[in-house]
Each structure stands twice: as structure tokens, then as C-alpha cells.
Symmetry: C2
Subunit: 111 residues, 2 copies
DNA sequence: CTTCCCTATTGACATATGACAATATTTAGA
DNA sequence: TCTAAATATTGTCATATGTCAATAGGGAAG
């Protein structure tokens, strides 16, 4: 495999990794309706402030969100709204997977 | 946030997590052209057999691949080809991100 | 039934990750 | 300048992850 391909895949893996946490997915969920400041995430995701900052930093490092200071507050927003399409597609996969499994269970119960 | 929503997000995070490794992305790359047995992944991804098996197990646990025994060999395939669309979309995001960054560097160099 | 493949599993180890608490930093306003 | 508010960073701890080496399991062929 070409070296450049490998490097791209490493970057992809990093972004997938940034998406691989329920709290960070919740943060992104909150960002669907636009920019949001840190203090607004806290009640929404139900986590400590330091924890929220930490996970925001991970999303930022992966290039998924960017931020801007506004006085005391820091407002975060998604850098590329396509990230939501990716999450939506994955959700479809997860749900169809669940359906497949429950069908299988039904089949097994019949016997 | 509704409990069911949270559970879905946990499942999503698990699938994203399964995608969050270069070796596993390479394995999936190999699966684009259809099913493949373990011994064929080994030279392709350049890893030890036990390591490949391990990562295949992670992909399987996440529901991304399934497998079937054929004599001595075990053949793996993707359970839902939509996973490739997800990877492709993420790759686009990564690449446009890279472009954005390099533009920024160019701008900065001008000054 | 013995031996040889192919694959999966296990153990050991180093490293990464996540949660929480405490503390530092930055900015606004008195 | 001093204080308070919002956010980021740090340290500590427990747990998870990834790699390698060794071993186990299970089917095929003789």
C-alpha cells in the first residue's frame, strides 16, 4: 500500500477515534443547531466542566470543531457540516444491524 | 436526552471505535473487493497473524464484518456495504481539512 | 490417529484513555 | 488593581488498548 494512502488512513483513524465516544457524540448533537459555548454543553451532556473541555479539545485536535472566544465564553462550532452526514449514515448502519439481529432472534425463537 | 438516544449513541461510539485504527481500515480496504480469508489479509496489511485475527475480532464484535468457515480458512466480509460510504465521506472530510490547513499556511507565508 | 495448516486465544508488557479534583489562565467588571 | 466568572490544564488513578510471543483449537490429508 502506498505510503500516502497509509498516512491518509492514519488521519482517518484519528478522526474516527475522535468520534468514538458517547460524550463527544452528544456534544456534536448539540452542535447540529449551530455554535454553542462550553457552559451550554455542560447541562446538555451531563458531565463536569473539565471533562467537557477535555472532550472538546479532542474534537478540536481532530479538526472536527473549531472555536472562537467571545468575552469570557468560548464558542464551538463544527468545521464541516458533512460530519453530521457521516454520523447519520453510521446511525442507519447501527439501526439496521439491530434490526438484523432481532430478526435473527425471532427466527431462532420459532424453532 | 432520552435514554434510548443515549443507548444508540453508545452503539455508534462502539462502531466508530472499531473504525478508529489504521490496521482495521486497511482490512476494510481489502474487503472492498469482496470476501477475503485471514491469510490473505496478512501480507496486505503487513501484520502478524495473531494481530490480524485480533483486529478482525474487533470489527466482528462491532458488527462491521461477519465470517464463515471454509475448510481450514475463515472468510470475512462486510455485513453492510454502506460502511464504505461512511469511510469515503470521512476521507473527503479529512482531505478538505488538509486543504484548508495548507491554504491557511499559504496565507500566513504571504505576510 | 497423527500430523500439519489456518485461525483464535491467552499472557505479558507498554502505552493510551477517561474521570475526577484541583489549579491555572484569561477576561470582564467593580 | 482586585475579584469573580468561564474555560483550560494538570495530576492522579483506574481501566482499556495494542503488540508480540506462545499456545490452543479444529479441520484436512495422509
Amino acid at each position: 500500500m502506498a505510503r500516502q494512502r497509509e498516512e491518509i488512513m492514519e488521519l482517518e483513524a484519528e478522526v474516527f477515534n475522535a468520534l468514538a465516544h458517547p460524550l463527544r457524540l452528544k456534544i456534536l448533537e448539540r452542535l447540529r443547531s449551530g455554535a454553542c459555548c462550553v457552559c451550554n454543553f455542560i447541562p446538555y451532556v451531563g458531565a463536569e466542566q473539565s471533562n467537557v473541555s477535555h472532550h472538546l479539545a479532542i474534537l478540536k485536535k481532530a479538526g472536527i470543531v473549531r472555536c472562537e472566544k467571545k468575552g469570557l465564553e468560548v464558542w464551538y462550532e463544527v468545521t464541516d457540516a458533512n460530519i453530521f452526514k457521516i454520523i447519520d449514515m453510521l446511525e442507519e448502519c447501527v439501526i439496521s444491524n439491530l434490526k438484523r439481529k432481532s430478526e435473527l432472534l425471532k427466527e431462532m425463537a420459532k424453532r
